[in-house]
């Protein structure tokens, strides 16, 4: 896997009081407005996770995943992970899970281009 193909972040999977928190990397060479990114799916141990109430956290900001398409002036710095918080998903500390993430990017200066990025990894809960 090339560095630009990585979408599961180095910080991995964490259990928090707000639910499971998954680190995501932006699969592009530059920062992009969050509005051009789609979190198209997450599976945990083979089962799809309901993303209806998922929340995106980046630095000190957070917004509902459902509103990511409106985030035209919030930029995902390409070196940093953004985090997907999954309310209702409670994971035991130190347990191991197979996580699949599907993320699409639509570079805002290349009309019509959609890059599809899947990744699956086995992660131990932090």
């Amino acid at each position: 896997m090339l560095p630009v193909e990585r979408i599961i972040g180095e910080e991995g999977l964490t259990a928090t009081p707000r639910g499971a928190r998954l680190a995501m990397r932006l699969p592009w060479y530059r920062s992009l407005p969050f509005s051009t990114v789609e979190v198209a799916g997450v599976t945990l141990d083979g089962a799809p996770v309901d993303l209806t109430d998922a929340v995106v956290e980046f630095d000190d900001a957070s917004f509902p995943l459902a509103e990511i398409g409106e985030q035209t002036n919030a930029f995902w710095f390409v070196r940093d992970s953004a985090f997907l918080v999954l309310p209702g998903v409670q994971l035991a500390a130190d347990s191991e899970h197979e996580v699949s993430l599907l993320l699409h990017v639509n570079p805002p200066y290349i009309p019509g281009m959609k890059r599809v990025n899947p990744q699956t990894a086995t992660l131990r809960v932090n």
Partner: protein, 336 residues
């Protein structure tokens, strides 16, 4: 009497995308590494790659960056900005006024950081140039549009810009050629990367044949997709091959001569320089003399893009590329 200097060499930090994304370097350590290896002093930086605060950098960050530049002795020539017109996928582009303001934010930041010029993109429609030219002139910045594959000197979008450039005749506007638009072949290193993930030789042969044909890149890429679908090739293998249609095209290298007079900066795009000092896909021996003998005195930044498909040492590739360019630039002018 002043003597015009020939083209100067430098590097864009984009060459080190792999090292950057894998967090092997911070901005300060990367700039120090470039300086230590004598790959500058001229540098280009993509605002949205290296500056977290882009498109609006703070005074504190600008001060920090200028201190780094002073310490390393590097020369911040070009800041690549982006024409992000399609902010909402599948919807209408943003308003012209918003797009102009988006450019102004980036241009102000580039100026604040000490850059002399900005790299723009064709996603900025030519009819907005009359608004940005006086802004750039007042700011004391130049803005050049990057002529990147599939664009080339006679592409309709380039001709439209050319007409506007001639009408405005502003010293703030110009071209930034990217040599990927005039390649002689698909880089062998790209095809090797496709082979390494198991792409069948038959698909690679079809790719080479279609790539060498005349016609727009998107049409050729579509043709390859149709053939691959009919023959049942895997998506990953197809994707490894179609990359070549988006980063390179096979237009006439001599056509750059038509853009030399308004060229303000150059992207020395390359994929792999051999032990003998020859780039594997782009005919530098044909292209560079056009700029050398045409009076271009700006900067050529080495832009290694092999990171789109492989992970060899980018620093060594840039060193080889700069040595190759210096060799060609030092040769005697070609008689007219």
């Amino acid at each position: 009497m002043t003597v015009a200097n020939g083209p100067q060499m430098g590097v864009t930090l984009y060459s080190f995308t792999n090292e950057w994304l894998t967090r092997q370097f911070e901005l300060d350590t990367l700039l120090r590494e470039v300086a230590k290896r004598n790959l500058g002093p001229n540098i280009e930086i993509i605002g949205f790659q290296s500056f977290k605060e882009f498109p609006d950098v703070s005074d504190d960050f600008a001060s920090y960056f200028k201190d780094l530049i002073a310490e390393t002795g590097l020369n911040p020539v070009s800041c690549a900005i982006n024409s992000d017109r399609f902010m909402k996928p599948g919807q209408q582009p943003i308003d012209d006024a918003d797009l102009v303001e988006y450019h102004k934010r980036q241009l102000r930041s580039a100026k604040k950081l000490g850059f002399k010029l900005a790299r723009g993109q064709f996603a900025l429609p030519a009819h907005l140039l009359p608004e940005l030219a006086p802004f750039c002139e007042d700011l004391g910045m130049q803005m050049g549009v990057e002529v990147h594959a599939p664009m080339w000197a006679r592409h309709p979008a380039v001709l439209e810009y050319r007409e506007m450039y001639e009408k405005l005749d502003s010293p703030a506007l110009g071209w930034i050629p990217d040599f990927g638009g005039t390649a002689r072949a698909i880089p062998p290193s790209l095809l090797d990367a496709a082979r390494a993930i198991g792409t069948p030789e038959a698909l690679i042969e079809i790719t080479k044949e279609i790539w060498a044909e005349d016609g727009p890149s998107y049409v050729k890429a579509g043709k390859l997709r149709e053939i691959a679908a009919a023959k049942g090739y895997e998506q990953a293998h197809l994707q490894a091959c179609t990359l070549s249609f988006f980063i390179l095209s096979n237009n006439d290298p001599k056509s750059w001569a038509e853009l030399v007079d308004r060229t303000i900066h150059i992207h020395g795009k390359f994929y792999g320089v051999s032990d003998e000092g020859v780039e594997e896909a782009i005919p530098y021996e044909e292209i560079l003399p056009l700029f050398r003998d045409g009076g271009f005195t700006g900067t050529i930044v080495s832009e290694w893009e092999g990171h789109a498909y492989c992970a060899v040492d980018a620093f060594e590739q840039v060193r080889r590329h700069q040595a190759m360019c210096r060799r060609i630039l030092a040769e005697a002018p070609v008689a007219a």
